[in-house]
């Protein structure tokens, strides 16, 4: 009833090609932004920030990045954990080497450093494809982690190889360190998510995004119609790594505050971000958010339900968490192999003609 395009008259090209052509969608989007900016920061507490919102927002950035590479450009990567580590260590080195540099620029610069490294490890993609490439990116994953664990320069020769983020602030609001407030951390990450999602949306519908999709659908055909695979693939690797690097930097400095590479950025991270992208929906911005929400919120929600509500013992609940999440992954794939984003689209199609489907 509310959700339909009838009665909306587009009078310019810009109006016609906007992201949310339906008025209801647009309002919903504004609503989410307003709630995110003006409501949540005032009610957020430590638990909601550290257990729900920060991981969700940060993983959403990583998933956006990997979706650019895997969903739009078709290059499967399992090096996400390694690239997140690059972002984290770059931000640590920048924070300690230039104490006066604003944390905002630290994060952005860490993204650029990661983009550089990502491009380098993207080079084999010009020759290797499919699962072979996926496994080849594992080389990046393992090598980078080994490097950060091994070379003392990266962790300023601390006794354990653990890096700890120093206190940094924007204006008088502390973003990192022990004095930071949940609202400040949340808003900082929200800002990044908003900016990066906006950029991703516009990149993927522009020339470069179309060249990625051409490569994804059939790289030889794309080459024949004039898409340069070198530029398309490497740009996808660079931009994807930029996102992943930003996510890694935020993950370390804002969310956890102290990490060791072998645990925080292990191969498990790479897999989790890939799950997010596939469950959410390949080649969909919304899908990145949905996937991140599923993988971050599901375990927390299950734990709270099983342990706090049902009073199950924690270990049985933990086993059931695995069983339920695994079962749900399979269930969703069987119901809709193209991810939550596709389910969402189907729902919207149904809504458009509701309540008179004929």
């Amino acid at each position: 009833m509310l959700y339909r395009e009838v009665g909306e008259f587009k009078t310019s090209y810009a109006q016609d090609s906007q992201t949310f052509p339906i008025r209801f969608d647009r309002y919903r989007y504004y609503f989410v932004i307003i709630v995110g900016l003006l409501f949540i920061p005032f009610v957020i507490n430590d638990y909601w920030a550290n257990a729900v919102f920060l991981p969700f927002l940060i993983y959403a950035i990583a998933a956006l990045g990997l979706n650019i590479l895997t969903g739009y450009c078709g290059q499967v990567s399992l090096g996400t954990g390694g690239f997140m580590a690059v972002g984290a260590y770059a931000s640590y080195k920048l924070m300690t080497a230039f104490p006066d540099l604003n944390i905002f620029f630290v994060i952005i610069l860490s993204g650029f450093v990661t983009a550089l490294v990502g491009t380098l490890f993207g080079l084999p993609s010009l020759r290797i494809k499919g699962f072979y490439l996926a496994v080849a990116t594992l080389a990046a994953q393992f090598f980078l982690i080994w490097l950060f664990n091994k070379v003392g320069w990266f962790y300023n020769y601390s006794a354990t190889g653990m890096i700890t983020s120093p206190s940094r602030s924007v204006g008088s609001f502390f973003i990192t360190g022990s004095e930071s407030t949940p609202a400040a951390k949340y808003l900082f990450c929200f800002l990044f998510v908003f900016l990066l999602a906006w950029v991703a949306r516009n990149l993927t519908r522009g020339k470069i995004g179309r060249s990625w999709m051409a490569i994804r659908d059939m790289d030889i055909a794309a080459e024949i119609i004039g898409v340069n695979p070198l530029i398309a693939k490497l740009s996808a690797f660079a931009i994807s790594s930029f996102y992943v690097g930003v996510a890694g930097a935020l993950f370390f400095s804002v969310y956890l505050g102290a990490v060791e590479p072998t645990e925080a950025f292990s191969i498990q991270k790479s897999f989790i971000v890939l799950f997010m992208v596939i469950i959410g929906g390949l080649g969909s911005i919304f899908g990145s958010f949905a996937g991140a929400a599923f993988m971050v919120l599901m375990p927390v929600a299950l734990k709270n339900l099983l342990v706090l509500q049902f009073g199950w013992s924690v270990d049985i609940a933990a086993h059931f968490e695995f069983i339920i999440i695994g079962g749900l992954i399979i269930f969703f794939l069987i119901v809709e192999p193209h991810g939550l984003a596709q389910l969402w689209n189907l729902l919207k199609q149904k809504l458009r003609i509701w309540p008179f489907p004929y």
Partner: protein, 428 residues
């Protein structure tokens, strides 16, 4: 946990706001799943059972019932953070995460929230310096104490001098395993032994290269900083190359039944450090069986009672509850807050009389915490595995670490932390 009760409690929590009870809350951040689950289970069982024992036998602490809030971390830092945030609001008195990684996370967070951390024998070694780390405690000993004591034992075995000897350190390639390196380097300069470092990657199932190297280099002693499957594989490999087991010394986290049993008879003679006595030959275990296990109130199935890691968990709980008692005494109230708990930890004294009263006479070293010293005297003993009897037994008295080497290292590390985080020294 029966399902009828489950449904009722679910309904109850939906409709009622649970009343705030006067009780002392001890969170148990356990890991009963994941790659390190086999070690996390007995520790968590011991930790949780001791609180049950106090509730059943004494009605809690100083008249206040104890409530244990459980949360599963799976040895994962992100889950650890979630657990910390979800349990801190319940009035948690002290955190003992049993993970060096999670401890590092919690150090700044808990200082901001004013909740103490007790990381007995793990975590950040320089947390011992109470001048800088107001909220961190790690008695009865630290990794650096362990490195020093292991070296001391090696020195005793080779007749008082290590000059010209070779010591190899096999370590878990993570923050935890790297902890002793700096101390051992300092010690190798002091005692003129040669140190070789052999990192093993998580999880540590494949160690052939490391042990071939050991076989070629023939070190006189091997120290091990391992955890989980790495321990049992290392002991098996050491037996395979017929390395003399009595020269193979693990840290206290590499000395449980889980580590030696898979290697069978081959593990006979393997040594490890210990911060408390092995076996269940203490009165507290009789009470534990009588009041907890036999009544079916145990956290586990009872098969772990008396194992090294179970005792370790119980010991962690003992130190926490003794600190709580001390806090109750200092402040004269039975319902203590985390801040009072911190005072209790800082003034905790484990004397022979106190231990005898709890039923653990001679179980662990005596120590006294002070404002400057949050790590006790840094003592540990050496225990040895007897594969035929299937028991660990002490072969030395409790020894103290070499403070002249460790103190400067701790001061340097904590000074760096203080500088990075603008912390002013206390206790002056």
């Amino acid at each position: 946990m029966n399902f009828k009760k489950t449904i009722f409690s679910a309904l109850a929590t939906l409709f009622l706001v649970s009343p705030v009870l006067a009780e002392l809350v001890f969170p148990s951040l356990s890991y009963r799943t994941g790659p390190y689950g086999p070690n996390g289970i007995p520790f968590a069982d011991g930790y949780e059972d001791y609180f049950t024992l106090l509730n059943e036998r004494d009605g809690g602490l100083g008249g206040e019932p104890i409530r244990v809030v459980k949360c599963e971390t799976a040895y994962n830092t992100e889950k650890g953070v979630e657990c910390y945030e979800s349990t801190k609001g319940e009035g948690s008195l002290v955190y003992q995460p049993l993970s060096t990684g999670i401890t590092y996370q919690l150090i700044p967070k808990s200082a901001a929230d004013s909740i103490p951390i007790l990381s007995s024998g793990y975590g950040r070694t320089s947390g011992r310096n109470g001048k800088v780390f107001k909220w961190v405690f790690n008695f009865p000993g630290t990794y650096w104490d362990a490195a020093s004591i292991a070296t001391k034992h090696a020195m005793d075995m080779s007749g008082g001098s290590l000059e010209g000897k070779k010591i190899a350190l096999v370590y878990h390639n993570s923050a935890y395993g790297k902890e002793p390196i700096r101390t051992l380097e300092a010690l190798s300069e002091k005692h003129k032994f040669e140190l070789s470092l052999l990192p093993v990657d998580h999880p540590g199932q494949e160690q052939k290269s490391q042990w071939l190297q050991i076989r070629r280099e023939r070190p006189d002693y091997i120290f091990m900083w391992g955890w989980g499957v790495m321990n049992s594989v290392a002991i098996q490999e050491a037996a395979n190359i017929r390395f003399p087991m009595e020269n193979f010394i693990g840290v206290w986290w590499s000395g449980s039944e889980n580590d030696v049993l898979p290697a069978g008879d081959a593990a006979h003679g393997y040594k490890s450090l210990a911060m408390h006595a092995p076996g269940d030959n203490f009165p507290v275990y009789d009470d534990m069986r009588k009041f907890v296990i036999d009544k079916g109130l145990g956290a586990g199935d009872g098969s772990n009672v008396g194992t090294v890691l179970y005792s370790r968990g119980m010991y962690a709980a003992i130190m926490a509850t003794e600190a709580a008692k001390t806090a109750q005494k200092i402040h004269g109230v039975s319902k203590i807050t985390p801040t009072m708990m911190r005072d209790g930890l800082e003034n905790l004294e484990m004397s022979e009389e106190k231990m005898a009263a709890i039923g653990i006479a001679g179980f662990s070293p005596t120590f006294k915490a002070t404002c400057e010293n949050h790590g006790g005297q840094g003592s540990a003993a050496i225990q040895q595995w007897d594969a035929k009897k299937g028991t660990w037994s002490f072969i030395t008295e409790y020894m103290n670490s070499d403070a002249s080497v460790i103190e400067p290292l701790i001061l340097a590390d904590s000074a760096q932390y203080a500088a990075e985080n603008n912390i002013k020294e206390r206790c002056n």
